[in-house]
């Protein structure tokens, strides 16, 4: 009965779109909500206006996490998308599913010049020398600080690429000089940040070079670089200049509210938050690179965000249309406008020359920082993401470890517990999937 309903419904939908015009419909699933959804629809509109052959139909699918299961479970039915947006940590899952056509096939057919597209972003979504998906919305974790508050209390701002102790110094000074009215800093309980701290220290979380040279069989988070990162946070918790906003979606909103209302001076967040932080902020916003360990040079962080994938259950011409849309979405002007309206980074190097971005940088010079951080990083195995299945669960377990430490727990014990749980899950998943 359910199958019947789906087919009937699916049929009526496609019949309707065919009645409007004779273009080939390209169903596009995405997970951009709020202001980003409006910006995405502009991209789609722009593509549809430029086309006589294809028509992209965008459909919002909720959160990144939930969309993955929808994509996998609808594959091969008439409801499945022709092109879809899947987030960074689902890359291994998508490659292994065998449900997608690598974009490399189309790149080769068209002799499309990918050298214009950010290499760190491309490296994240490639495997075995093949581009599997095309990065679309890409962000970098950066450190934000309240420049006006630092000025008010006469504190020297942190350098462009700060070390952990640079940040500790500023946080402590801010807390003391504001007479304990402003907390110095916070780091949200978010597995992404822990992974980035490792990437920036040049360390790897999973064996086989974070999965880039083979399917991972062993994970070790309990390494000196994680310990140093957590020790840095713990030190600030002890001196009371740290405020904990917890984990989850509400934590992000709470810490943004705290930052905008002068309750906390420094926090780490995605560069995609710039729009929100400049729009309603009466203070001057400061941005630096993601902090690095004291005695190490910054290795550069991996990107966050999502990529566009092409499903292989659709006819050739539909897949071709999907790639035409991907190419359009990477045009310099499209990426520039995308960065301006969302805070995600323009991936096309030529976008920097457009008037849109030049105007933006003239108005908000600090919005240049994340792009510079991205351009500076040289892709290597540590900062090209972790190509491992079960990353969603891994992140949850990393967050439990972080929360344990934030609440006073022992760092080594918390990390060992996480390692055990992550490895149990990894071994079981490898066994279920028949990987060696």
């Amino acid at each position: 009965m359910a199958i019947l309903l789906v087919t009937v419904f699916g049929k009526s939908l496609s019949a309707k779109s065919a009645a409007n015009d004779n273009r080939i419909p390209i169903v596009f699933w995405h997970e951009m909500g709020g202001p980003s959804e409006d910006a995405l629809e502009q991209v789609v509109d722009g593509f549809n206006k430029s086309q006589t052959k294809y028509k992209v139909i965008p459909k919002y699918q909720g959160t990144y996490d939930e969309a993955i299961q929808k994509i996998l479970q609808t594959h091969g039915t008439s409801t499945s998308p022709a092109v879809f947006q899947a987030f960074d940590i689902s890359t291994a899952q998508m490659i292994h599913s065998g449900y997608t056509t690598p974009v490399q096939n189309f790149i080769d057919q068209d002799n499309y010049d990918v050298s214009k597209i950010s290499s760190v972003a491309r490296a994240f979504y490639s495997n075995g020398g093949k581009q599997q998906a095309m990065p679309f919305n890409t962000s970098q974790p950066v450190l934000y600080y309240n420049a006006s508050l630092l000025k008010k209390y006469g504190i020297t701002p942190p350098p462009v690429s700060p070390s952990y102790s640079d940040i500790t110094r500023v946080a402590k000074q801010l807390y003391e000089k504001s007479d304990h009215k402003v907390k110095g800093m916070t780091v949200q309980v978010y597995g992404w940040f822990l992974e980035q701290a490792l990437a920036n220290a040049g360390a790897q979380l999973a064996n086989n070079n974070d999965g880039h040279t083979g399917n991972p069989t062993e994970v070790k988070i309990n390494n000196p670089d994680t310990v140093e990162f957590l020790n840095w946070i713990k030190e600030n918790i002890k001196s009371d200049d740290f405020i904990d906003y917890g984990s989850g979606a509400s934590a992000g909103a709470n810490q943004t509210a705290g930052f905008l209302s002068d309750k906390v001076g420094i926090f780490i967040q995605s560069s995609a938050s710039i729009g929100q932080l400049t729009k309603n902020n009466t203070n001057k916003l400061g941005i630096t690179y993601f902090p690095h360990p004291d005695n190490k040079k910054a290795n550069g962080v991996a990107i966050g965000g999502a990529a566009l994938w092409i499903s292989n259950d659709k006819p050739k011409d539909v897949q071709r249309g999907a790639f035409e849309f991907i190419k359009y979405s990477l045009k310099p002007e499209v990426q520039a406008q995308w960065q301006k309206s969302t805070g995600y980074l323009a991936l096309n190097k030529d976008s920097q020359k457009t008037k849109i971005l030049k105007d933006l940088y003239a108005k908000n010079p600090e919005s240049k920082v994340p792009g510079e951080q991205l351009a500076k990083a040289k892709p290597n195995y540590s900062n090209s993401g972790i190509l491992m299945e079960g990353m969603q669960l891994t992140r949850q377990l990393e967050e439990v470890a972080m929360e344990t430490v934030y609440n006073g727990g022992d760092i080594n014990h918390a990390l060992d517990t996480a390692d055990k749980a992550i490895n149990d899950n990894l071994h079981q998943s490898n066994r279920a999937n028949g990987y060696k």
Binding site: D244, G390, Y406, N407, S429, G434
Partner: protein, 313 residues
């Protein structure tokens, strides 16, 4: 009003059931029975029995990335889960939550209902106020309480700022987060519980109280010896509904804590959802679903075996 309908229906059904046992079905009856029962059986099979059996089936395997069953492991999933401290803590957290929510909802609801049943001028305003949370959706309630709990700008944080008290980390400390979720759930439940209990209290015959007044019984004595026994079927109904509702609690947890911090509010139902639709581990979540089914069945059985006998219909 609701009280009478729930109390009367149950015994009637029992009587019918007893009579039915005496019948022998002839061929004609079987024909009609299949016509009348067929459609509902078909729907039930498709949407209830088939998914149930499939869940049981999946729980005996490992599932791969695509959600397909691959390696048969027998009861291995169950053994692993029951011996995992993570899952056991989820179970105890769920039990704590269910007990706390039920006890608080029913007792506070009863208190408010008893207060609001007094015949005083302007009491209608309070009756409306107390039942107002019935009209509040889970999403609105969650956001409303998130604003209150915000450690920088929330109502509680501002209050403790004025009183020079340290700020309580409502959502980041494991114990407090549990209470934050309990408080929010109880607040959500109160409107409905209050309304049902108020209806029950008001339908207690006033002659009983008048007779007690003549005897000189105190109002406390009247409450425990007249009100409570007379509304006991409704209390039973309300607590059953609350227990089942608390076990199924999902929306508030998803919106307020997402199961955190350190899994302190990761109840069974939320866990099942996360394991299936976040992690894509269908085998694990099916196993958890079966365990939850067994637990709820057990509680329902206990309730009907023991509590029902004590209820005064």
């Amino acid at each position: 009003m609701l009280k009478t309908s729930t109390t009367n229906v149950v015994p009637e059904k029992k009587v019918e059931a007893k009579q039915r046992q005496g019948f022998r079905l002839n061929a004609n009856d079987k024909y009609y029975a299949s016509i009348f029962l067929g459609p509902s059986l078909l729907v039930l099979t498709l949407f209830v029995f088939y998914p149930m059996l499939k869940t049981l089936y999946i729980s005996l395997f490992l599932t791969n990335t695509l959600g397909n069953t691959t390696v048969f492991t027998g009861l291995d999933n169950y053994v692993k889960l029951i011996s995992s401290p993570d899952f056991l803590s989820s179970m105890s957290v769920t039990l704590l939550y269910v007990v706390a929510v039920t006890v608080l909802t029913v007792s506070v609801g009863l208190l408010l209902a008893n207060l609001a049943s007094q015949k005083l001028p302007g009491i209608g305003i309070f009756r409306t106020l107390y039942s107002v949370t019935m009209g509040v959706s889970v999403a609105v309630a969650a956001i409303f309480w998130l604003f209150i709990f915000n450690p920088s700008t929330g109502f509680f944080a501002l209050m403790s700022g004025w009183l020079n008290l340290p700020v309580v980390n409502w959502l980041t400390s494991p114990t407090n987060a549990m209470w934050a979720v309990i408080i929010t759930t109880v607040w959500m439940n109160l409107g409905f519980t209050f309304l049902i209990l108020l209806g029950a209290i008001q339908s207690v015959p006033s002659t009983l109280y008048e007779a007690a007044d003549v005897e000189g019984a105190s109002s406390r004595y009247q409450f425990f010896k007249i009100t409570i026994p007379m509304i006991s079927p409704t209390l039973f109904f309300v607590s059953t509904i609350t227990i089942i509702g608390a076990f199924k609690s999902f929306g508030l947890i998803d919106l307020i804590t997402k199961g955190g911090p350190t899994n302190a509010t990761n109840m069974l139902v939320y866990r099942i959802y996360k394991d299936a639709f976040y992690s894509g581990n269908y085998a694990k979540s099916s196993t958890e679903a079966i365990i939850l089914t067994v637990i709820i069945a057990f509680f329902t059985l206990i309730q009907f075996k023991f509590l029902e006998k004590k209820v005064n219909y």
